[in-house]
Symmetry: C2
């Protein structure tokens, strides 16, 4: 049993209150939260007054795309995709996916992120990378006209949905604009067969929405809903350009809107209307997207951007308060991914925890911890990241099966190879 002691505790369990006390972890679960109490402990972690809270969950990623970081910037979207992303992706092997995913996991851990909702390919290698690290992931099928069949998606679903306690699988498609109608229908049918939600990139760009309306007379959300894809819920990634009717569908179907402010900013896709989503009780989760478009996998930057861009959008400094943004990046993202067992800190929940160092100047004075985290927090404040009761990152050091130096070296070698013609 592990004891975390001398902690400020933000459980986010229906409250933004901060208490002081200890947390006990028995195996992979939280067994006690409260005032200091006796017990026999294998390890005592004295966090010296730091804040213990639920970890961040990254609800939209393409983890292995770390190889494209800073290789495809400051270009218009079409040149970014056609000149940079596609030619390099065509050369990828499973070995690349393994190495580049591990690099992403290092970055997630340094940002207090303990799980990702990932869409990419070479799933065996992806699964090996995350499980070798002890990192959690939810795979989302990414079928489109360039790869996958409904049969292969069903096989993947059955194979990966419970391949490891760390891994699960959700049904979906890459996006409407990359996927023919019969394929979308086939995946919707799979959602019905298995009682699963439906996920896709949705309304990331205006172009995408206008193209869909031209093709079907419907927005992507309306199209998916008309095909019965949302019978069992699910959600959309990006959700930048949702119509009023789309928002009604999200609300009615209980869909998750996964926002990706950094990526939408860097690719100039637009600003999602988060305030309108909140007003309409649409459930919000947060993702960084991949390093090719963001380029950082940094939940602190995302949180500031989410609230900041709403303040700019509405010309109102009081728009989109910090509390709800912090909740979306932790509790919201966990629930969107189906990780209800690690959404908040409570007895019986998995010990997926981040310790925020308050003894850094950007956290002082402690007028309001939640606002400090969202408005002035940074990865510099991540003191410890724990998954299923295991410390994977602490004080800048990693505790993984492979050294970070080896992961960096391998990533450099493999990306050099991809860059060669």
């Amino acid at each position: 049993m592990i004891k975390i002691t001398n902690a400020k505790i933000l459980t986010l369990d229906n409250s933004f209150d901060v208490t002081e006390g200890d947390i006990h972890i028995d195996g992979d679960c939280i067994s006690y939260i409260g005032a200091p109490k006796d017990g026999v402990f294998e390890e005592v972690i004295d966090v010296g007054g730091s804040l213990v809270m639920p970890s961040f969950k990254n609800a939209h990623t393409h983890s292995a795309m770390t190889f494209l970081r800073s290789f495809a910037d400051d270009l218009p979207l079409d040149r970014w995709l056609n000149d940079r992303v596609f030619p390099m992706e065509a050369k990828l092997t499973g070995e690349d996916i393994y190495a580049f995913t591990k690099l992403a996991v290092l970055e997630y851990l340094s940002s207090g992120i303990t799980a990702c909702f990932d869409m990419y390919f070479y799933l065996d290698d992806f699964v090996r990378a995350v499980t070798d690290c002890g990192f959690k992931s939810v795979i989302c099928s990414s079928i489109n006209d360039f790869g996958g069949t409904p049969e292969s998606v069903e096989e993947e679903y059955l194979k990966y949905k419970s391949i490891s306690p760390l891994v699960s699988y959700r049904l979906g498609i890459h996006a409407e604009y990359t996927t023919r109608l019969e394929t979308i229908k086939a995946i919707a049918a799979l959602c019905h067969k298995y009682g699963e939600g439906f996920w896709a990139h949705n309304s990331e760009t205006l172009n995408e929405v206008e193209g869909c309306i031209k093709r079907y007379g419907k927005t992507p959300t309306e199209l998916f809903d008309s095909l019965g894809a949302y019978e069992y819920g699910g959600g959309g990634f990006h959700c930048v350009h949702l119509s009023d009717n789309d928002i009604d569908i999200f609300k009615k179907r209980g869909l998750w809107a996964v926002t990706n402010a950094g990526s939408n900013t860097k690719l100039a896709s637009g600003v999602a209307d988060i305030c309108r989503l909140f007003e309409n009780d649409v459930k919000l989760a947060v993702g960084t997207d991949g390093a090719a478009s963001n380029n950082a996998l940094d939940m602190f930057r995302e949180m500031f951007l989410i609230t900041g861009l709403q303040k700019l959008r509405y010309g109102d400094a009081s728009a989109c308060a910090a509390d709800e943004v912090l909740k979306a990046a932790t509790v919201g993202s966990a629930r969107a991914m189906g990780l209800y067992d690690s959404d908040v800190l409570a007895e019986g929940k998995k010990a997926d925890i981040v310790v925020i160092d308050l003894d850094k100047p950007n956290m002082r004075p402690i007028n309001n911890i939640v606002k400090n985290i969202v408005y002035s927090g940074s990865k510099q404040n991540v003191k410890l990241t724990m998954i299923n009761g295991k410390v994977l990152y602490r004080d800048g050091r990693y505790f993984l099966d492979e050294s970070e130096a080896d992961i960096y070296r391998r990533a450099e070698e493999l990306s050099d190879r991809l860059k060669k013609k």
Copy 2:
């Protein structure tokens, strides 16, 4: 003599090229940059392949306002000022200024910032705080209708412009909307008398510009220029709402536009048109503004916001390339502040240096170091901050006259007192 060895070097001396080699520091100056070379050294700093570059300079701050961090968020601008900022400011003493400024210096150093262009009061205490830390600052007079006289500004100018090798002083006013015309004229006259540039908050909000036009039939920039205030240059803080004619004046007079993207975002003031400034060859510097409005004093967040908000503004992912933003936050800010002796890395320049840790996942792979810094860099990458050849921050530890624990404790005590009615 100090040797920094095993370094990647980005001098920013008219180039974005990165070379490899050593840097020698003799006293407070750089004496050599190049291939490894013999010598007698008191200290050898092996940076293990990290990047050495000119430090960031923070060209618009109210350092002591750290006490208001997360105490005045998510409020409309008028309530923010009248209910929170003004009542607490009214209670400030010199002791507060000393403690809260030191807290800001800790945060600057952790972000690779070595100098600030500061506007606030209790200057003796401010000067004592920064010089006790070995931190550089340029004071800007902040006269307005609530404090200061032209005579007191002249006295301050003569007293502080060379009170310490670490401190200098620039003439200016708080802003047009807080300062009566005769005072502005008197400060413009002082600029003429001493051959100094003129500085002020300028066009931060639309309200400010519209009010000025109503009062004088001129924008703030036009008004200041019509009074001859810019005869010897200077510049403006914020510059969010500049007209075409304002930009012409900035260009013609060689004025510096100091941009404050984080503060303008959080207070919903708007997005400065940085692309148009670049197109018109207006010189750009970068500042964080104070912690009351930003809330972080984090140059990495500023840089991402500057370029990201232009991409959104223009709907063009190629807008406002990273290189020019990095240059503005280092070389540009230094020159705006008159710190020409520490703008770039070169022999004879002051050793105001930041070491960026490339052995962090957000810097890998190293496809493009400059873009990595701007698009995925964070304070986590600041390995070492040096001012005048002295290491003040390294691997998360500070080397100051007072421990950070004592600075935090004092800041908490004093802010608790201010919060009491």
